[in-house]
């Protein structure tokens, strides 16, 4: 790891997140950065003693802008309220590795804290260590006479103090210790507390800058119209002359699969694109429809064999030998759009020897590669300036919208900001894949599963986006994400067989908050609900029994049951459902336990989701404030999928396009949320996606108690909430 002590220029750095993304301001930061002294890849101290901490994981709402710098500040003993945070990119220290991929800078899979916790602590402690040694040398006292607090070193004998700024130049000349002493948890002042978010004030006075707000001198604005069918292509523009004459229109850029209208102002581009009359060829997917997609997935469910993801014991034989004892359930989930509140956008300035891009971008390196490829400018000369993201949920990882903006900027030879309309954002999203599940079991005399066969069939996420993540078997490859929450579930099942059938579809798909678990846990926990129900055993006790040898899981399950007083029957007009999941981070990166109890309350002739208890053991919690916020928001996000969201296809394209037909949860539908933090002494585990998956099966179980019917397809329609007379 090369350690450049003095930054020559801030070339590798974008603007401060908290300041406007205006290049004038960025340049000022660059000038300031020239005087910065770099103690590690993450810690920069200016001549006035100001401490700036590097942030390499975009703030999408999850709180990385607060939690990650807090880890550095903790070990550094920085003056937390005074530190600044700066977006950093381009160095190995900022990269993380997923599976067998080459390390890259990106954000995803709930790993910002898990992957960086140890790294940032060591960086903070190493910087503190050189500052202490510099002070000791200055005072000519042993290091043991030096203590640190709030951005200064104190001589414990004399009480003299030296601010970090006064020591930075000397400290930067000392070699960094590879294994500096880390604080014990008892010494923490920031980690494990409820820290206020550092970005709140800017987000309540309109000053927080998102990609949408980028402003570059000479910039034009662009709107895009893409082929209504997936894989369709542009044949001709029928009213090009008319579009060119619209007020403000400067250029029409043809893409293989769409048209970009570039105008002085965005509203002019928007208006012109709405007038656009273009002919697209539907290509080969013109016949694609949800009916067809469903039929494909359905047919796989009953296929003779699938690709085996897990084979413990002899489940297929036991099921085959006891056909009349088999309990079977089937489930279905649709494609979903991410629909982050900020539509996808990027602002691009291409110059002969550099490209600058401002935008709402979740995957840094992947975007740089695409920008470099299209522009022909080397990757080192691509500069991303990432401000706040107006949500992402995985939707701003695929950089196709960035590529489109680069093409527009190159075509007009001026900086261009391209903003997708909501319609384009939803219809041309990379969707959460559909799939269907069939679960079959034979139970013992008490009603507990002896043998289970779980089969999932649908579109593969990995086959489309990460072919090298597919697991190879003699019978073919399979995509483990299709059985997330099933193949790695925690219940004790003596004979357990899981297999997968992939039905290739041309639909672009991508990771979405909680990935395969959003389907897998629904299938799995709903099936467990069915088995417990058939056995006539309390749903909580049934799960306890299956987890009897797993104390960590039981602790979380018991915590949620205690909080919701499960053992006391609910009042009349209230029904409950309980669910559990062990969430395994991709490639074994973490393990988080989560249990939820939902209460439905009868209102008039239907049931409504009134309260959700959610207990999580995610190891050490870095920031309790944002942790609780993630639980609250994650429950609402999940409820949106459970009750409302569905992307259907017809004539080769998505049928939904805006919040009228792809509705989001409203405040009146938001349940009360009771978060239960189950502390454990493990290091921080993933949080952001964990609460999402167990909600829907808890609701479906409660509905079983309320109405006698358990819904088996998402989203749960209003009818299933109708109270039986």
């Amino acid at each position: 790891m090369g350690r450049r002590r003095f930054l020559e220029v801030a070339a590798a750095f974008g603007a401060l997140l908290a300041v406007p993304l205006d290049p004038a301001v960025a340049a000022r930061d660059g000038a300031a950065a020239e005087a910065d002294i770099e103690l590690t890849d993450w810690i920069f101290i200016d001549a006035q003693g100001g401490v700036t901490l590097g942030l390499c994981q975009p703030e999408v709402g999850q709180g990385s802008y607060t939690a990650l710098p807090a880890i550095l500040a903790e070990e550094l003993d920085a003056d937390w309220p005074a530190v600044k945070v700066r977006w950093v990119m381009g160095r190995d220290a900022y990269k993380i590795q997923f599976r067998n991929e080459k390390p890259s800078q990106k954000e995803g899979a709930s790993t910002s804290t898990t992957k960086f916790y140890a790294r940032l602590r060591v960086a903070g402690a190493a910087a503190r260590d050189v500052l202490v040694r510099a002070a000791a040398a200055r005072w000519q006292v042993p290091v043991s006479d030096c203590a640190t607090e709030s951005g200064m070193v104190r001589n414990t004998r004399t009480g003299d103090t030296l601010p970090y700024g006064a020591l930075a130049a000397e400290a930067a000349r000392l070699p960094l210790s590879p294994a500096p002493r880390l604080k014990t948890p008892a010494e923490f002042r920031l980690i494990g507390k409820a820290l206020p978010r550092r970005d709140t004030a800017a987000k309540t006075d309109g000053s927080a800058k998102y990609g949408l707000d980028a402003e570059v001198p000479g910039m034009l604005n662009a709107a895009i119209a893409l082929s209504p069918t997936i894989g369709g292509w542009l044949v001709r523009i029928n009213n090009e002359a008319e579009i060119r004459q619209q007020p403000g229109v400067r250029a029409i850029v043809r893409l293989d699969d769409g048209v970009i209208v570039v105008a002085e102002r965005y509203w002019q581009a928007l208006r012109a694109v709405q007038m656009l009359d273009a002919t697209f060829s539907p290509g080969e997917n013109g016949g694609l429809s949800t009916e067809l997609i469903d039929r494909l997935a359905e047919s796989g469910l009953d296929a003779e064999i699938g690709v085996t993801a897990l084979a413990r014991g002899d489940a297929p034989r036991i099921l085959g030998q006891n056909p009349d004892q088999v309990i079977e359930s089937r489930f279905s989930v649709p494609h979903l759009a991410h629909a982050a509140m900020e539509p996808m956008n990027a602002t691009v300035h291409v110059q002969p020897d550099r490209v600058d891009v401002w935008g709402s971008i979740q995957s840094t390196d992947a975007s740089v590669a695409v920008i470099s490829k299209i522009s022909g400018v080397a990757e080192e000369k691509v500069h991303l300036h990432i401000g706040f993201l107006g949500g992402s949920f995985g939707g701003k990882i695929a950089p196709d919208f960035v590529a489109q903006a680069v093409r527009a900027a190159m075509a007009v030879g001026r900086p261009v900001k391209l903003i997708r309309t909501r319609e384009m954002d939803i219809q041309h999203d990379h969707f959460r894949p559909n799939n269907k599940g069939r679960l079959r079991a034979v139970v013992d005399r008490d009603g507990y599963p002896v043998a289970v066969h779980a089969r999932v069939c649908g579109q593969s996420l990995f086959a489309t986006t990460r072919p090298n993540w597919l697991t190879k078997t003699p019978l073919g490859d399979y995509d483990e994400s299709m059985v997330d929450g099933i193949y790695n579930q925690s219940y004790e099942i003596p004979h357990f067989h899981v297999d997968v059938i992939q039905t290739p579809l041309p639909i672009p798909v991508y990771f979405m908050r909680s990935v395969g678990s959003s389907a897998g846990v629904l299938f799995w926990e709903s099936f467990i609900t069915d088995l417990a129900h058939k056995a006539g055993i309390d749903q909580y006790q049934y799960r306890r029994h299956l987890l009897r040898n797993n104390p960590a899981a039981l602790k979380v399950l018991d915590a949620v049951a205690a909080a919701a007083s499960w053992d006391t029957p609910p009042p009349a007009g209230t029904v409950r459902g309980i669910s559990f999941d062990t969430y395994h981070g991709r490639g074994g990166s973490f393990v988080t336990y989560v249990a939820e109890i939902v209460e439905l309350v009868r209102k008039g002739d239907s049931w409504r989701v009134a309260r959700v208890f959610c207990a999580i053991d995610a190891g050490l919690v870095v920031n309790h404030n944002t942790f609780i916020a993630q639980i609250q928001g994650g429950i609402g996000f999940s409820l949106t999928s459970a009750l409302k969201s569905e992307i259907t296809f017809n004539r080769g394209g998505a049928e939904q396009s805006n919040f009228a037909d792809y509705p989001l949860l409203s405040i009146g539908e938001m349940p009360e949320v009771v978060p239960i933090v189950v502390e454990s002494d493990r290091p921080p585990q993933g949080v952001g996606e964990i609460m999402v998956a167990p909600l829907a099966p808890a609701i479906s179980q409660a509905l079983l108690h309320a109405t006698g019917r358990r819904p088996d397809r998402m989203p749960f329609r209003a009818e299933v909430f109708k109270a039986s007379a």
Binding site: G206, G391, G636, L639, T640, F659, I667
Partner: protein, 154 residues
């Protein structure tokens, strides 16, 4: 033809077509980018501003309609140090991604002007803005807290 109106208390005038949406006029011509674009069809409320005090979704409001009227944006609300709503939002750390929050604060401020002590039902009826991060739990708490703080003061 020019269209005069007040923007956060300052007289301004827009030289352009009557049918330009107010949201983009304010963002692009007057450089106030706190109001956001979420749907463009009046459904999400990210673009909410006050027009003579009423919360209006400005992505679908032609600027010609505000001739002579008083427009207030999040920047105007934030300049008012006493705004109890914004203070409650800060105290409770309501925003996650934050993108919807300008609109939320504008709508909540108008709600409290109309209904100083709103019930949960009032909040449900009035706050039809959308938040994909689902920060609704804290939004509700913040509205109640702001209502209490204002009542305490008066």
């Amino acid at each position: 033809m020019s269209i005069p109106f007040q923007l956060n208390g300052r007289p301004v005038s827009f030289d352009g077509p009557e049918d330009a949406p107010l949201l983009w006029v304010v963002r692009e011509h007057f450089g106030l980018t706190g109001s956001k674009f979420g749907c463009g069809i009046g459904m999400c409320g990210a673009c909410t501003m006050h027009v003579d005090g009423a919360p209006i979704r400005t992505c679908v409001l032609a600027v010609g309609n505000v001739r002579g009227r008083a427009i207030r944006t999040i920047e105007g609300v934030a300049a008012d140090a006493d705004n109890a709503v914004r203070k409650a939002w800060n105290d409770l750390d309501v925003p996650q991604c934050g993108y919807c929050q300008s609109g939320m604060i504008m709508t909540a401020t108008a709600l409290l002007a109309e209904t100083p002590a709103p019930t949960d039902q009032d909040i449900d009826r009035w706050m039809t803005n959308l938040c994909r991060c689902a920060t609704y739990v804290r939004i509700r708490q913040a509205i109640h807290a702001a209502a209490a703080a204002r009542q305490h003061k008066s």
